[in-house]
Symmetry: C2
Subunit: 173 residues, 2 copies
């Protein structure tokens, strides 16, 4: 007891701080939307579906499952509910008729807007409060935290802003 098993203390402290930044930022980021959802008898899962379907109109169910990282049974309840209540439309795929391509109805877009307005304002304020370099740093660290295969989602196509740092990122142990 006199001798606490310490990892390298200064480094460990920095790491723990980042863990906590992630925890608290995520916690505060989601609470407001959760409150709005509760009033409509929806949950966070509905928000995620509406967000990503809005973001990627015409996406397949599989693509959505991969993004959410859940099973089709779990998605089923939520998606089925959104479809039945007129927030999401399913259209049979043209090239592959087994697919159900997803898109938001006007009602769905309305809900998406309602849910993310506060979140976008929050992020927007955070962006405006820092320098462009800070924003780049934020992105670099977030990309470093996620899995390699998830990272492709940001690094491949056009979406990414940037950053020289990316080149330094190692593949991950």
């Amino acid at each position: 007891m006199v001798k606490p098993p310490r990892p390298s203390p200064p480094d460990d402290e920095q790491i723990r701080q980042s863990i906590e930044l992630l925890f608290f930022a995520y916690r505060d980021f989601t609470t407001r939307a959760d409150e709005i959802l509760a009033k409509q008898n929806f949950g966070r899962a509905h928000h995620r579906v509406v967000y990503f379907v809005g973001r990627h109109t015409g996406m397949t169910v599989s693509a959505l499952l991969e993004i959410l990282g859940i099973t089709k049974q779990s998605l089923s309840r939520v998606l089925g509910q959104l479809v039945r209540e007129g927030y999401v439309l399913q259209k049979t795929g043209i090239h592959d008729r087994r697919q159900r391509l997803l898109e938001l109805t006007p009602k769905g877009r309305e809900l998406e807007r309602l849910l993310t307005t506060e979140q976008r304002a929050r992020i927007s304020a955070a962006h405006k409060a820092v320098s462009a370099a800070s924003l780049t740093g934020f992105r670099a660290v977030m990309l470093g935290i996620m899995n390699d295969d998830t990272r492709h989602r940001f690094t491949s196509s056009e979406a990414i802003t940037d950053s020289p740092n990316r080149a330094k990122m190692r593949p991950w142990p």
Copy 2:
């Protein structure tokens, strides 16, 4: 009533990207620990309790509730379970005997280590892959995302490592 159906599109794209960075980084950050927890019949809530009690030895139940942002009834089951199974100790407060000060047992510390080892490695790698400036930027943005009152947790007291970088962080508008 409301006017702009569209925010300025380029800006909106950057904001959405940050929202997604937050979502995917958090998702990937938690999955491994969740798997370990599942094997022991524990959930993410147990992880959070063990993490924060380990971080703030001797903390009160109220302090933990405030950090977690949940109700005491929700905490009760999880905390009670951890206490009964010997991961967490409760000691009656000295100055205020109504308080139950929380701390980890050796078994609790072991569990905490098991759960966060992978997470710390993940964050550590992300830190090493970027410049000190990027890290500062990451912190600034994360602090900007969280609520004002949550931010005090990082900006006020000692808990912070320290780092010359800290000095550059602005108090926030």
